[in-house]
Symmetry: C2
Subunit: 284 residues, 2 copies
Amino acid sequence: MTSPLLPEGTGITRVVCEQLAPQVGELAHNMELALDAVRRALADRADIVVLPELTTSGYVFADADEARRTAITAADAFFTDLSDLLAGTRTVVVLGFCEDDGPALYNSAAVVDASGVRAVYRKTHLWDRETLFFTPGERMAPVVTTPHGRVGVLICYDLEFPEMPRRLATAGADLIVVPTNWPLEQRPADERPAEIIQAQAAARANGLYIACADRGGTERGQAWTQGTAVINQYGWLTATADGQSQRIVADLFLRLSREKTLSPHNDLLGDRRPDLYSQESPQL
Amino acid sequence: MTSPLLPEGTGITRVVCEQLAPQVGELAHNMELALDAVRRALADRADIVVLPELTTSGYVFADADEARRTAITAADAFFTDLSDLLAGTRTVVVLGFCEDDGPALYNSAAVVDASGVRAVYRKTHLWDRETLFFTPGERMAPVVTTPHGRVGVLICYDLEFPEMPRRLATAGADLIVVPTNWPLEQRPADERPAEIIQAQAAARANGLYIACADRGGTERGQAWTQGTAVINQYGWLTATADGQSQRIVADLFLRLSREKTLSPHNDLLGDRRPDLYSQESPQL
């Protein structure tokens, strides 16, 4: 992937997503993997870096004890190391980690810049065996204002609930970043992953960009979709990981997400009918 | 298209969508066009027939007067003729018409069976110049119980608001039928229409079938996407219109829409977090 130098102030935001393959339970190894990915992204002048769900811990835990042994708080030295790496840059990194909060563990994502941890989002829709290890988050996903635009955060299965990207759109998100670990599912030949189709629809329905960083490799026999993708505000794919690369670099005009006019008579968010959506459907 | 005879009680529902090309303003011609399509569908033992938005009137009105001249009420003799055609069958027909309601016109869809007009839904999200002719509907889209399953109704642009299919899903719809007139939009080479991608996502997010009947032909220079499609409860395309045929026949197991279990720990609708969706996004 070439990385031409971009002048400041072009309005272009460079998003880098890397499909890492952490090893379950190998905290130190995975932290170094994440820091290395961020170093590569910085060398490419990334503005926003997205890494997978549970990057620091791995995903396929044998049991709750194993999950707990990989848990860290947002005050962990890892985040200081990461933030130090970003010193002097305007780069923002979003990655998943197993969060320790006393008795509870959360499947969380941190938004980190040179100033430190800007936000922690705790996944609110848990998938399958995650329910055995994690407590679901109780707060709506955040929108973080960055020098590049307003960044909403979701994790994996969250994105399959259209209410979630909608809420981030009405809160002003220009880009939704999605650390994810999509388990590989069967699909018809020549079809892209269903999760990407849902991401495309979410981007178009809300007129904003979406950047998903999926897992690479396999883990304890679990294969991943490897569906890392960046999608534009019309719902079209800008870049996807493929067999050749685990890493994508996409240059986006995030300000286009602020334009919700579809026709002289239509505004994508203004055309919503919240009064109606709270009505029951007539049953006939 | 072959049409093997299906035994009663197989659990199979045959859905026929036909991409008609009505002529704007030619009410009598368009009504005959619709009745002919229903005759063809009956010959194919269709259980559910879906025809386009504004089938009886056409779409690209020059002005409000022209729209008004094509307006009919749900008591119009056309619906009696249609219902008579369905006598002795369990077939259900859904099609769009320009509805006359005193001072107001609505872009409506009727659900008709041998007993008469079962339901009228007035489009609630108006596209572009429709706002010049039509009043937006004030009632949520209905779910109509039929011998084949529970049928939800949306019209065209409605489907692009994820709240709408979601509401029909929580009201128990097994199938959403969508009379539509999708204006042709540019799209990347080798991509299917964005509207179909949104329909796929809506089907998967809600675990139900969707059948869209788009327009054929062109009208006053307006080309149509011709995106007629039936989508299964996983979000995959079962049948689409193509250059060869304006008409699709799909045999569906609608009862599969009642199965929302995704994993031992997940239920597609049960996993929603309505408490959360009414929260504001934290702004950080």
